[in-house]
C-alpha cells in the first residue's frame, strides 16, 4: 500500500505527534469535566483548589437527579429491548427475503441516521401532538426507537450476512423446525451482532438530547435534558459530577463494544 505505516520512516514521529494532539483536543474537555467534578471550588475553578466528593453526595441525595437518571435508564433499556427485537426481525427479512423493493426498504429503515435530528424531532413532536404522546414514557421510547433501530439493523444484518445459512439448514435437516433452528442455532451464532446492536441502541437513547428536549415534560425528563436545563440556570459542579457519571457509563459500554469486535475477529 502507498501509505504503509511501517514504511513511513521518520514521518511516523510527526504522524504520532499529530495523532496525540488530536486525541488531546478530543479528550481534554472530558478530562476537564471529570477533574472539576472532584474539585472543591463552587465556581468550577481550574485547577481546583482542593478535592472533594461533595458534588457526588449532593447528586445522589437529590431525588430530581436520581429520577432523571432512572427515567433515562428505563427508557434506554426498553428502547434497547425493542430495537434488538424489531431489528433482528427486520434484518432477517432484509438479508434473507427475496422481494421487490427490498433495497428501498433497507434504505428507508436507515434514513433516521442521515436525517438531521432536529428535523426528526420537530416531525415527531408534531405527530405525537395529535396522539397525545409528547411528555409520555411511550412517546420517549417510540422516538428513541426511531433513531436506535438503524444501529440494530446494521449490526444484526452484518452478522446475519456473515453467518452461513447452510448452518441453519443443517439444523433443520437434523430435525429442528425452522423457528427452533433460528432460536437455537442462528441467534447464538450471531450473538456478537445482537450484543453490539444492544449496546449501540442503548447509547443512542441514553445520551440523546435533541429529541428528548422536544419530548420532555416537567415531570418526565431524561438525564441529558435535565443537564441542559440546569446548565441554563446555574453552573453547579453537580453538573460536572452527573456528566462524569454519564461519561463513565458511555465509555464502559463503548469499551464493551470494542471488546466484542475484537472477540469477533479472533
Amino acid at each position: 500500500m502507498l501509505l504503509d505505516f511501517a514504511r513511513l520512516g521518520s514521518w511516523r514521529l510527526l504522524l504520532g505527534l499529530i495523532a496525540a494532539l488530536v486525541g488531546a483536543f478530543l479528550l481534554l474537555p472530558i478530562a476537564l469535566i471529570v477533574a472539576l467534578s472532584f474539585g472543591s471550588s463552587q465556581w468550577l475553578q481550574f485547577p481546583p483548589p482542593g478535592w472533594t466528593l461533595r458534588w457526588y453526595e449532593e447528586l445522589f441525595a437529590d431525588p430530581e437527579w436520581l429520577g432523571s437518571f432512572l427515567t433515562s435508564f428505563q427508557i434506554a433499556v426498553v428502547v434497547t429491548v425493542l430495537s434488538v427485537g424489531i431489528g433482528a426481525m427486520a434484518s432477517f427479512g432484509l438479508t434473507r427475503g427475496e422481494f421487490r423493493g427490498r433495497e428501498l426498504l433497507r434504505a428507508l429503515f436507515l434514513t433516521p441516521m442521515i436525517l438531521p435530528v432536529v428535523v426528526l424531532a420537530v416531525a415527531l413532536y408534531a405527530f405525537f401532538l395529535r396522539l397525545h404522546l409528547n411528555g409520555t414514557f411511550i412517546g420517549f421510547v417510540l422516538a428513541h426507537l426511531v433513531i436506535a433501530l438503524p444501529f440494530s439493523i446494521i449490526a444484526i444484518s452484518n452478522a446475519l450476512e456473515r453467518f452461513d445459512r447452510d448452518i441453519e439448514t443443517a439444523a433443520i435437516v437434523c430435525g429442528a423446525s425452522p423457528l427452533e433452528a433460528k432460536i437455537r442455532i442462528t441467534l447464538p451464532g450471531i450473538r456478537l451482532g445482537l450484543m453490539s446492536a444492544a449496546i449501540f441502541s442503548f447509547l443512542a437513547s441514553w445520551d440523546e438530547v435533541v429529541i428528548a428536549i422536544f419530548m420532555a415534560s416537567p415531570d418526565l425528563q431524561t438525564l441529558p435534558v435535565r443537564i441542559f436545563g440546569t446548565l441554563r440556570q446555574d453552573l453547579s459542579p453537580v453538573i460536572a459530577a452527573i456528566s462524569t457519571v454519564l461519561i463513565a457509563l458511555t465509555a464502559g459500554l463503548m469499551a464493551l463494544a470494542a471488546l466484542l469486535r475484537k472477540d469477533a475477529r479472533s
Partner: protein
C-alpha cells in the same frame, strides 16, 4: 427392492431447467454417486430429496411412501454439506447430540449415542473441542457423525470433501467406505471428481444438463458408455472423426478421412450408414506397432509426435495421416516403448470390440 424411488423429477428455476425428467431407483444400503460437470443438476436433485426445493414435476418415494409433502425437518434424512456447517457455539459432542435433543431423547441415550458416533468417525478424544479448533477434515467427520446420530435410513452428501486436499480426501474417502459398510446406511453422494465417484460407490449416475446420461457400475460406464458424453467424461478417450460405411445390428464399418476402412466397431445407438461419426478408443487400449508388419489388425497409420514418461506409464501422442491427434498410454512395465521415438512412422491398432462409435 427399491428403497429410494426418484420418478420423472424435474425442477425449473424460471426458464432454467436445472433438472429434467430424472428417474432413478436405489436399493436399501446402496452407495450411489451423482457425478457430472458443474451446473448439471446434481445438487438440485439432492436438495429435492432433502426437501430444500420442491420439484416442478415428478415424485420421490422412500419405502413406497411419498415424501414430497413432508418438510425437511420431518424427512429423517441425514445430510453432510459442502461447506462446514457445524454449529459454531456448540462443542463437538453437543453438535452430534443436537438432532437427538430436538427429538427429545432421554439424556442417557443421547450420551451413549454421541459416544458411539464419535467413535465411529474416530474423534472420541475431541468431544469437548469447539468446531473452530478442528481442521477441515475433522469438521466434516463430526458433520458425518451428526448426520448419522439419529440413524437416518438415507444419508445425502453434497461434495463433502471438495474443500480438502487430495491426501486428506483419500483418507476420509476410506473412512466413508468403512462407515458405509459398518452402518449399512443408504448413501447418495454428489461429486464432480470421477475418481472419487468410481472409488466410493456401487453405482454412478452421470448427470449432464439436468439429465442422467447413464447409470451403472463405474466399470460399465468406462467400458460400455452409452453416449458420447459418458465416453468423454469418464476416463480418458480419443475421438476419431469418420464416416459410417455400413451398419448391421450392433456393429458398423467406418471409413477414416484418409480412406482407410475399419470393420466391426460396436454401436450403442445411432450411427446410421452414411452419417458422420466419432470413433472412441481409450488411450490404454491402443497398441503401437511397426508400419506394414501387422496391417492385418484394425487400425490406422500415424506418426509419433510426442512421448512423455509419467512415472508408471508412457504417454504418447501420435498424429494420423489426416492430422488428428491420438493419445496412447502404455504401462512402463511393457517392453515395447523403448523401440519408439518421436518422428517414427507407426501403425496404431486396437481390438475393434474395445472401440465404440457415436454420432457426431
Amino acid at each position: 427392492m427399491t428403497f429410494l424411488d426418484i420418478r420423472n423429477v424435474s425442477k425449473h428455476f424460471g426458464s432454467v431447467a436445472a433438472v429434467s425428467n430424472v428417474s432413478l431407483e436405489i436399493a436399501r444400503g446402496e452407495f450411489v454417486t451423482f457425478l457430472g460437470p458443474s451446473g448439471s443438476g446434481k445438487s438440485t436433485t439432492l436438495y429435492m430429496i432433502a426437501g430444500f426445493f420442491e420439484p416442478s414435476a415428478g415424485d420421490i418415494r422412500i419405502d413406497g411412501a411419498g415424501i414430497l409433502g413432508l418438510p425437511s425437518n420431518k424427512r429423517n434424512i441425514g445430510m453432510v454439506f459442502q461447506r462446514y456447517t457445524l454449529f459454531p457455539h456448540l462443542t463437538v459432542a453437543e453438535n452430534v447430540a443436537f438432532p437427538l435433543r430436538v427429538r427429545r431423547r432421554p439424556q442417557a441415550e443421547v450420551a451413549r449415542k454421541v459416544e458411539e458416533m464419535l467413535a465411529l468417525v474416530r474423534l472420541d478424544r475431541f468431544a469437548d473441542r469447539m468446531p473452530a479448533q478442528l481442521s477441515g477434515g475433522q469438521q466434516q467427520r463430526v458433520a458425518l457423525a451428526r448426520a448419522l446420530a439419529y440413524d437416518p435410513p438415507l444419508l445425502l452428501m453434497d461434495e463433502p470433501l471438495s474443500a480438502l486436499d487430495k491426501k486428506l480426501r483419500e483418507e476420509i474417502q476410506a473412512e466413508i467406505r468403512r462407515i458405509h459398510r459398518e452402518t449399512g446406511v443408504t448413501i447418495l453422494y454428489v461429486t464432480h471428481d470421477q475418481e472419487e465417484a468410481l472409488s466410493l460407490s456401487d453405482r454412478v449416475a452421470l448427470f449432464n444438463h439436468g439429465r442422467i446420461e447413464q447409470v451403472g457400475k463405474g466399470r460399465e460406464l468406462y467400458e460400455q458408455p452409452s453416449t458420447r458424453f459418458v465416453a468423454g467424461f469418464v476416463g480418458h478417450s480419443n475421438f476419431l472423426d469418420c464416416t459410417v460405411a455400413a451398419r448391421n445390428d450392433h456393429r458398423a464399418d467406418v471409413v477414416f478421412p484418409d480412406g482407410s476402412r475399419l470393420p466391426g466397431t460396436p454401436v450403442h445407438r445411432g450411427a446410421h450408414a452414411g452419417a458422420a461419426a466419432g470413433l472412441m478408443i481409450r488411450p490404454d487400449r491402443v497398441r503401437i506397432g511397426a508400419r506394414g508388419a501387422a496391417a492385418t489388425s484394425a487400425g490406422v497409420d500415424a506418426v509419433l509426435s510426442d512421448a512423455t514418461f509419467i512415472g508408471d506409464t508412457f504417454h504418447f501422442v501420435a498424429t494420423t495421416a489426416w492430422g488428428a491427434p491420438v493419445s496412447i498410454r502404455v504401462p512402463a512395465s511393457a517392453p515395447m516403448p523403448h523401440q519408439h521415438a518421436v518422428g517414427d512412422r507407426v501403425r496404431l491398432s486396437w481390438d475393434p470390440g474395445q472401440a465404440r462409435l457415436f454420432d457426431n
